[in-house]
């Protein structure tokens, strides 16, 4: 079973995303900010990460940069999932190693489509 880490400071978003990803067959873990997610990734890298951008303590972009610097940190597929919809922000995310990008609000079809794009489904 493939693993996916949801990183989002909203409990409601994590709950909705967990339901979608579990229905898609993923073993899901959660983190409420980038620092907690980074600690988890240092112990064990998931196959995929659904990543919010704006979060307290450590935001999604800072987390992504640090994840990619970890040994084998480039192997994990990262799908940003954020209210940041400006093209400039999307380009910035891709330049820093994001594999795909979801603009909130999202639904199960969009999540499935994006995880298919990055080869996790």
């Amino acid at each position: 079973m493939k693993t996916c880490l949801i990183v989002d400071d909203s409990r409601v978003i994590r709950m909705v995303a967990r339901k979608i990803l579990e229905d898609l067959g993923f073993d899901v873990t959660e983190a409420e900010n980038g620092q907690i997610a980074l600690d988890m990734c240092q112990k064990s890298l998931p196959d995929g990460i659904l990543l919010d951008w704006v979060m307290p303590v450590m935001d999604g972009m800072e987390f992504l940069k640090r994840l990619r610097a970890l040994p084998n940190g480039s192997a994990t597929k990262v799908v940003f999932c954020t209210t940041e919809t400006d093209v400039g922000r999307i380009r910035e995310a891709i330049a820093n190693g994001a594999d795909e990008y979801i603009m909130k609000p999202f639904d199960s079809e969009i999540v499935q489509s994006k995880f298919m794009q990055v080869g996790l489904i």
Binding site: D86, I90, R91, Y101, D107, Q117
Partner: protein, 273 residues
């Protein structure tokens, strides 16, 4: 709704579009036709049927057909058939048409345009190997309303996130508020025209690839067979027919057979691609 009215509407739809509406799908009439009723200041479906009988209003009948035929689509639907287009179909055509450098593609029920634009983007991505080639994409649909949306090439945030890789979104679309506008260069690669699949397509010319995905499923067996026979007539001898992944020619047409190891792709029964 009165039973005679269900029969009136199902006959109308079958005659105009080939759509077979069984009684278990009668709920679709309620959900889809009420906006049409409101548009024409009618209170319910029975009044729509009375109006169809008495007025023979062609605009209203066209609206009824449009809303009943409309179905959801998205960019690169099912992904794999489009991967095959880039990796197998297009390279094969490039070799087979090296003398004429001309390829014709037909999206036979293009709905709001995502399918032909997906092809256009793939062709654009392959342009380095297609310099000097003339590639025509014809996209047809019964509904002129949906064709107008397709031609405009303007999509919601939800629509551009279904199937479209993010790198293609930022490369081929321009953001305007919460709408995304298809690049004019891609739009100009597609020629949109109204066409009813119940008619013979000979006037459209011959094609190297025909996409008729997730359409036949709405037709009865004789209409499916007739449509496939028409497509056989206008598909090049070494051409490829794309059907939906849940559709098949088995038991419907002997004019096509599956392309081995390429799900959803069909060739002429006497071809050997």
């Amino acid at each position: 709704m009165r039973i005679e009215n269900f029969e009136l509407l199902s006959t109308l739809l079958k005659q105009r579009s080939g759509l077979v509406l069984t009684k278990d799908k009668a709920y679709l009439l309620e959900t889809r036709l009420m906006p049409v009723a409101r548009k024409y200041n009618l209170a319910n479906l029975d009044q729509i049927c009375d109006a169809v009988r008495t007025r023979q209003d062609s605009a209203m009948i066209a609206d009824i057909t449009d809303v009943m035929m409309s179905c959801g689509t998205h960019f690169f639907r099912d992904k794999k058939p489009f991967d095959l287009f880039s990796t197998k179909v297009l390279p094969r055509l490039r070799a087979a048409r090296a003398d004429t450098k001309k390829i014709r593609l037909w999206c036979a029920a293009c709905s709001s345009g995502q399918e032909p634009y997906s092809l256009a983007m793939l062709i654009k991505e392959a342009q380095e190997t297609l310099g000097g080639w003339q590639i025509e994409i014809l996209a047809t649909d019964l509904s002129e309303g949906i064709l107008a949306k397709a031609k405009a090439g303007i999509y919601s945030q939800f629509e551009v996130q279904r199937g479209l890789p993010i790198r293609m979104l930022i490369k081929y679309f321009r953001q305007n508020g919460d709408k995304w506008h298809m690049d004019s260069g891609i739009r100009s690669m597609v020629d949109f025209k109204p066409f009813n699949l119940l008619e013979h397509p000979r006037a459209l010319g011959q094609f190297d690839v025909i996409l008729c995905r997730n359409v036949l499923t709405y037709f009865d067996q004789p209409t499916k067979a007739k449509t496939l026979s028409h497509m056989s007539d206008v598909l090049a001898k070494d051409g490829i027919l794309y059907l939906g992944l849940s559709e098949t020619v088995r038991g419907v047409s002997e004019e096509f057979k599956p392309v081995p190891d390429m799900r959803g792709l069909y060739q002429h029964a006497d071809a050997d691609l």
